[in-house]
């Protein structure tokens, strides 16, 4: 191959950025890992577990908040020792797809499943007293929820369902296995047995109903439901401005390559946060013009990165950038 072709292959060319997120274990503050050696330049439509495809993003910006200085010595003083005084990373992007995860990440606070309620229940911004959950039976998987004959008729193909355990007055992070909220006092949540299903990420859409089970269009994010879990119908998703809970997820942004190599940006821990020091506030949705006045509405998200202690050398790391060179590309 000619030297010019080798050099041309060193130019990454991309028109799309794809976003993948994976849950952080909030109890242990352990991030999901993107391992370039194990995961490789994977098929972008079939990410390896635990990474979840959140689709294409726009307006992606990442800014270093690094504060560096240099120690000066001598007379007259001359720069002698550069050092970092502070590290930080801020990221903004627009999610083009709306979904439970995208909304949760954009809002950053607790994300709510609005459960189907009785028509006589009190009205509430997040839905009134919900219809009772139906216990799921052994044999359920992340793609098929077994309810038994009769009970299964409570749901129709096309319905959204939330599947999780009853709230049992525990404190701390709740949601199985992905934390969707933090409870300080059971009284705060009115000891609501449906509370976990209100905030769980284990939500799926019914694609098919068999005689005893519901087959889901996508597997539940949290995997096979815990024993003792129940299912409830979800009418809508909701989030709130305010609240004290902050979403924390691992993120992987990939410049989808048209030519050249693949660039991956891996953030072990991202927390939703407005830009540091911003006074004017951050916009929540953006409009992407199709043909005025028709616009697509995108979810605007803003994050700061938290560090992970790298086992390689004990350093605190905010972001990893990996690059898969194109086949036959020159190395330098």
């Amino acid at each position: 191959m000619s030297p010019s072709s080798q050099r041309a292959s060193m130019v990454p060319i991309s028109r799309t950025i794809r976003a993948y997120f994976a849950p952080v274990n909030r109890e242990q503050e352990s991030a999901a890992i993107f391992d370039p050696a194990r995961h490789g330049a994977f098929d972008l439509d079939a990410p390896p577990a635990p990474w979840l495809d959140l689709g294409c993003i726009d307006a992606f910006e990442r800014r270093s908040l690094e504060d560096a200085d240099v120690l000066r010595t001598g007379s007259p003083s001359v720069p002698s020792l550069p050092y970092r005084r502070a590290c930080g990373v801020h990221i903004e992007c627009d999610f083009r797809n709306w979904g439970k995860l995208q909304m949760a990440l954009a809002c950053g606070s607790q994300h709510i499943n609005v459960l189907a309620s009785d028509s006589n229940s009190d009205i509430d911004p997040l839905g009134g007293t919900p219809l009772s959950g139906l216990a799921i039976l052994p044999g359920s998987t992340q793609s098929e929820i077994v309810l038994g004959a009769g009970a299964v008729n409570s749901f129709q193909p096309g319905d959204l369902i939330a599947v999780d355990l009853d709230y049992q007055q525990q404190v701390g992070y709740v949601g199985n296995p992905i934390a969707g909220a933090y409870v300080r006092d059971p009284a705060d949540v009115r000891r609501d047995p449906d509370f976990i299903r209100r905030i769980t990420f284990n939500v799926g859409r019914v694609a098919l109903r068999t005689a005893t089970s519901l087959v889901l269009a996508q597997p539940l994010i949290g995997g096979t439901p815990a024993a003792g879990a129940s299912a409830q119908k979800v009418i809508a998703f909701a989030d709130r401005e305010g609240g004290s809970f902050l979403q924390e997820w691992s993120a992987l942004f990939i410049f989808q390559e048209d030519a050249g190599g693949r660039i991956c940006l891996y953030y072990p821990r991202l927390v939703t946060s407005p830009p540091p020091g911003q006074v004017a506030g951050s916009y929540r949705e953006s409009r992407i013009e199709i043909a005025m006045p028709i616009s697509a509405i995108a979810l605007h998200a803003s994050f700061i990165a938290l560090p992970r202690t790298d086992t390689l050398d004990g350093e605190s790391i905010l972001c990893y950038r990996s690059y898969f060179p194109a086949p036959q590309a020159a190395v330098y």
Partner: protein, 164 residues
């Protein structure tokens, strides 16, 4: 540049064959996928074969500001939908089918550049990529039972040779 033309054509032809196995035409007794490069076809006064995609390569340009001396090549793909019925009332539907197929096979907008003058073909080490196709208005060619559409796009590629 010829490798770029060949790679683009064969990528689209193979994608069309995979997308719709019935999108074939029979010309002089030979059945082939309904896609051709105009400049590679015999010179003839006959109208284009109906329900077949024709690729026309147009002006090449250089983009010297880009590293690696990125070149581009404008390209038009036209096709004429013809009804199989006497009244030809389904010619619009056939045009829509052809348009949808063309838009589908243009994605993803990139493929590997290969030298197809050798067998097996040889990887030339770079990719070619192109813009999303833009379709023009429906036109009525000489035969009233036909509808014609042209889609344009620009192909980008790195040359095999050093340009100085």
């Amino acid at each position: 540049m010829q490798f770029t033309k060949d790679s683009f054509y064969l990528a689209l032809r193979d994608r069309l064959a995979a997308l719709n196995q019935s999108r074939v035409v029979t010309v002089n007794g030979t059945t082939r996928v309904a896609m051709a490069v105009s400049e590679n076809e015999p010179v003839t006064a006959a109208p284009p074969t109906a329900n077949m995609f024709y690729i026309e390569f147009r002006a090449p340009k250089s983009n010297l500001a880009h590293p690696g001396r990125l070149l581009s090549l404008d390209c038009a793909i036209f096709f004429e939908a013809e009804s199989s019925t006497e009244s030809a009332v389904d010619r619009g539907r056939i045009l829509s089918e052809l348009t949808t197929e063309l838009l589908s096979i243009c994605f993803p907008c990139h493929t590997r550049k290969r030298d197809f003058t050798q067998s097996p073909s040889v990887d030339l080490g770079t990719d070619i990529f192109w813009t999303a196709p833009q379709c023009d208005d429906t036109q009525t060619p000489s035969s009233p039972s036909r509808l014609r559409r042209t889609a344009t796009l620009t192909i980008f590629f790195f040359p095999e040779l050093e340009l100085s």
